[in-house]
Symmetry: C2
Subunit: 112 residues, 2 copies
DNA sequence: TTGACACATTCCAATATGGGAATATAATAG
DNA sequence: CTATTATATTCCCATATTGGAATGTGTCAA
């Protein structure tokens, strides 16, 4: 078999840096394809293709208005990523806390 | 060009479901390759190969003890993923709050 | 109907992938 | 030194991918 297709889930869709950029650029607002083209300075087929992948995994939704298509982020589809990664947060937080303690101890040592 | 290599960053490494499973299985504990083989019931080369990818992006670290190699998760490398996805949390949380409010209203309606 | 605009799709090439099977390497025991 | 254990690497294949260029489709305006 080959690599998991990009359209398989949010993890794979978002692995591509440009698609992360696209989702961020879109953010909370609704934008037309041409607005995205201008905002990111990519060429139009590239934007359409990336939007296509994101749409297939439900990360963006499309709304047709005249000859425009307005896209918006469907953030809920990012939840599986959030849920998977969040449990690991404590590890680097713990490290930071320990580092803070060490730095605290060093300060005390200095002033003595 | 082709797709971004799996060894390019944590996002790509973790896009593969098996590697997510591997990281979770490893969790906080240090395990040898054979322990992982038994735990996950994969064949040995598969485990080694996936560990290789994770090691290249720094998601796991290796420690040699005799003829064993003990692997552990380096959770900090997951932080970029956490940082990227966290800002979107508010969107689905907002939805949940709204849903809670709706349900609350429905309850009140029922008991009246 | 014709043109112009907004966007999507197709075709191409180069490249990487993950799985299975086989084989190589390293370390220890005897 | 040899056998064995623990792990890594190589080879092969089928399959997707991204970007660029070209082309197709749908909608509005005159």
């Amino acid at each position: 078999m080959a690599r998991t297709p990009t359209t398989h889930d949010a993890f794979n869709a978002v692995a591509e840096p440009k698609r992360r950029q696209l989702i961020q650029a879109l953010g909370a607002q609704e934008l037309s394809v041409n607005e995205i083209v201008e905002l990111l300075n990519w060429n139009q087929p590239s934007v359409s293709k990336h939007l296509g992948v994101l749409k297939q995994v439900g990360l963006v939704e499309e709304r047709r208005v005249g000859r425009q298509r307005l896209y918006r982020v469907n953030a809920e589809r990012l939840k599986p990523i959030f849920d998977w990664v969040t449990p690991f947060e404590k590890y680097w937080n713990e490290s930071f806390e320990r580092l803070d303690m060490v730095l605290e101890e060093m300060k005390k040592g200095e002033t003595k």
